[in-house]
Amino acid sequence: MGEEDVHPMMITDATPDAALVACHDCDLLHRKQRLQSGQKATCSRCGAVLYRQKQNSLDRTLTITLAALILYILANIYPFMSFKLEGRVQDNTMLTGVFELAARGSWVLAGVIGFTSILAPLFHILGLLYVLLPLKRQRQPWHLASVFRVVDFLHPWAMLEVYLLGVLIAILKLSELATIELGVAFYAFIGLMLLTTMAAASLDADLIWESLEGAP
């Protein structure tokens, strides 16, 4: 990456709290420095990323997330792919995988797969919109702190890119026995995966948390 890392100055006891940031991996205190776009500040001791400069974070994340919601809907209602063997055709959508597992008694597996590939991405997108839409109109959403905390928690559990690799391997395994045709949902899903990754990259969490301080 062509980014230039900045080590903010380490601090002494006399610096006021607001200008400080503590490393989340080693607890070392640093004095905040202004960054230029594309730069990131890293910890001088353990190398963790402390913060980044992101431009137009609010507008950009909001737009990307709205587009992601549309693709999410497409990816979940249209057939993902179809499987043809001996003149028989079998379709599936993202949801049928979960229902099939549950129907065969694998409840735990169905729960984990359903949560990581369907529920967590959905709630992540909805939570972001719930937080970003009012902030765009200079209002503070109701229970901002709790909702944004949930959004933060859900992030590692939304495993769209992992799911896509699972799909590719499934296709590979089946391609020897039968014909696989990719459906609308497959392409929508690729777009959805790219958009959620972009949304995560453009989201500036500090901006959201700081909006709590400005409110009456």
């Binding site: 006399a14 597992l101 694998s106 597996l109």
Partner: protein, 215 residues
């Protein structure tokens, strides 16, 4: 004014785990819970019971790891011939069919990553408990890798869910999920919780005086 760089803990500051605000420590009356003045989350200097919690989760995952690898993750029935696939046999089949890039990918995601997580977390826990001073930075990087890479082990589970839904052609071909898949999904979930309950700041807590001055 001292010129020695310091940590949040030494400066009597606590970083809120949710919103990252630095809060000043104060002594609270008994039975009061410290909350972040900005977002209201409970603040603690370090994750609570980090070591015992992480040990418990690592042990659970290690136990689940055995059925995850010995029981089949799926049973493929093709024209009445059942074949049991385990995690290992799946990777082996990919290697044998010559799909090397994919085979290596699945090997990493399904075999190397879970092992790395279990052994890596155990190593980090032991190193903190024995107060090792060597290579704190490398250990922190190891922790970061463990945290990021864990979710990729779900690849095989997603593959099973797709195969089960697609291949249900009655007498011709069906695929049933196996017990190994449930155990493996549980290993992934439990190790993800184990990684998030470990507090990497513990690696640094004992050696602050020396390393602060060095850099």
């Amino acid at each position: 004014m001292s010129t020695t760089p310091t940590t949040a803990a030494k400066a009597a500051l606590i970083r809120c785990h949710a919103c990252e605000k630095l809060c000043r420590m104060r002594t609270l009356p008994a039975r009061y819970q410290a909350c972040c003045p900005r977002c209201g989350a409970r603040v603690q200097q370090r994750k609570s019971n980090s070591l015992s919690r992480t040990w418990a989760l690592v042990m659970t995952a290690a136990i689940l790891y055995i059925p995850a690898n010995t029981f089949p993750i799926m049973t493929v029935e093709f024209f009445g011939q059942p074949r049991h696939d385990t995690i290992l046999s799946g990777v082996k089949a990919l290697f044998e069919s010559g799909q090397y890039p994919i085979a290596i990918l699945v090997f990493f995601a399904s075999i190397a990553v879970p092992m790395l997580k279990l052994l890596g977390l155990a190593y980090l826990l032991v190193s903190v408990q024995l107060r090792w001073k060597a290579q704190p930075r490398q250990r922190t990087v190891l922790y970061r890798v463990i945290e990021v890479v864990g979710r990729w082990s779900m690849i095989d589970m997603f593959m099973v869910s797709i195969l089960v839904a697609l291949v249900k052609l009655g007498a011709v071909a069906t695929i049933e999920p196996g017990l190994g898949a449930t155990a493996f999904a549980a290993v992934v979930v439990v190790t993800m919780f184990a990684a998030s309950s470990f507090d990497p700041r513990l690696i640094w807590d004992d050696m602050e005086d020396e390393t602060c001055q060095k850099t």
